[in-house]
């Protein structure tokens, strides 16, 4: 496991996303905002790990805004055959969530493999 505490060499990327939908609720585009940080502080956080309420302490990366290295956004126009009406929202419906998750992974992978995605990461990492 990582050591608890500050790791100056370590980095993390925080992603937020927004999904656009058409009038029928189908996803049409997704915009990701990427924020890269260094000086990551690994701290234990307690997670509920099963339906019985059992908990486990897990080391998670935390960061401060003063250690923000770079921010960038990217938009992926979702092809018709990759669109879905499924969502990621509460209350969570398993099938709905897993379908949305698979769709989101497909968008991300397709974009990452594209010339645009590769150019984005090359530029994002060129700090």
């Amino acid at each position: 496991m990582p050591k608890e505490g500050l790791c100056e060499s370590c980095t993390a990327v925080d992603i937020s996303s927004s999904v656009e939908r058409d009038a029928d609720g189908y996803t049409t585009s997704v915009t990701w905002t990427f924020k890269k940080y260094d000086n990551i502080n690994y701290q234990y956080r307690t997670f509920t790990v099963d339906a019985d309420g059992n908990t486990e302490d897990i080391l998670v990366p935390t960061w401060l805004e003063e250690n923000l290295i770079k921010t960038a956004t990217a938009t992926y126009e979702i092809p018709v055959d990759q669109r879905t009406t499924c969502t990621h929202e509460e209350p969570h419906d398993h099938d709905n969530e897993m379908t949305f998750q698979a769709a989101n992974a497909l968008w991300a992978d397709t974009w990452k493999a594209s010339a645009e995605g590769q150019a984005f990461w090359e530029d994002f990492n060129a700090v």
Binding site: P2, C7, S9, T11, A12, I15, V49, P61, H92, A105
Partner: protein
Amino acid sequence: MALQTSGAISLNEIHVEVGGTSGTTCSLNDSDIRGIGSPNATYADAQNGTGINTTSGSAISIYEFYGAADTVPMSTTNYARNTGTADAAFSYRSQTAGIANVQAYLECRLRRTDPYVYLEVRERSSAQTSYWWTSAGTQTALSTSYVTLGRFNLTGITEIRLDWTTPTSSTTGSGVYSGSCYIAGETNGPSATYNASSGSWVTVSNNQSIAFAFTAMGLAECYAQVDQECFTDITAYARKSGYQDTSLGTYQFTSEAIAISNNCF
């Protein structure tokens, strides 16, 4: 024989030390003169650290030559791809669970066992899928046993150093997750004597070593997901009196962790 450590030094004396003929034309911009070994660290500068700036025309002090000596590079043998632009080692791990918490560790060790110093890499867990690439570009499975990426062919090396670049990444995800690239000196996991610290020389005796751990970390909860890829370039150095500080070249390491949460508690 090393140059004197005090008093006046003539350019001719420096020229002779690096193998030039006494009385022949030379200048402080000659590559062999600026490449002399073991320059005086007292005159380190911010741009170049402890060593003469080898760029012709850059600032230089005659006092940097105090104690300097003609040296030769160490002999090395490379076994792995060390272009710095394609992977020398790669590790991958994925997990699907309510709380998906996954790491894909590479452990890197620089070990002195006379008459060599070995640069080695392995995966931490057999649950990972890992590879390394030979110098010919052949992809080979990497296990929890160390493989040698390269070595210094010299007995009695006194100091070693492992440098790494701040990890870069490619991250995708959705929901409540975290992903990060972890790299730090470590002894317990990699079975090493000392922590490696990028940019720092470590004095070692025979059968001692330095090491670090490098991993992509992914953590997802409540139907979140994250695909965290991390990249770093590592360089191994060795030092011994009478020889130039020598590196094995640059090796690119990649680690990828995919965490998929399939529940929410």
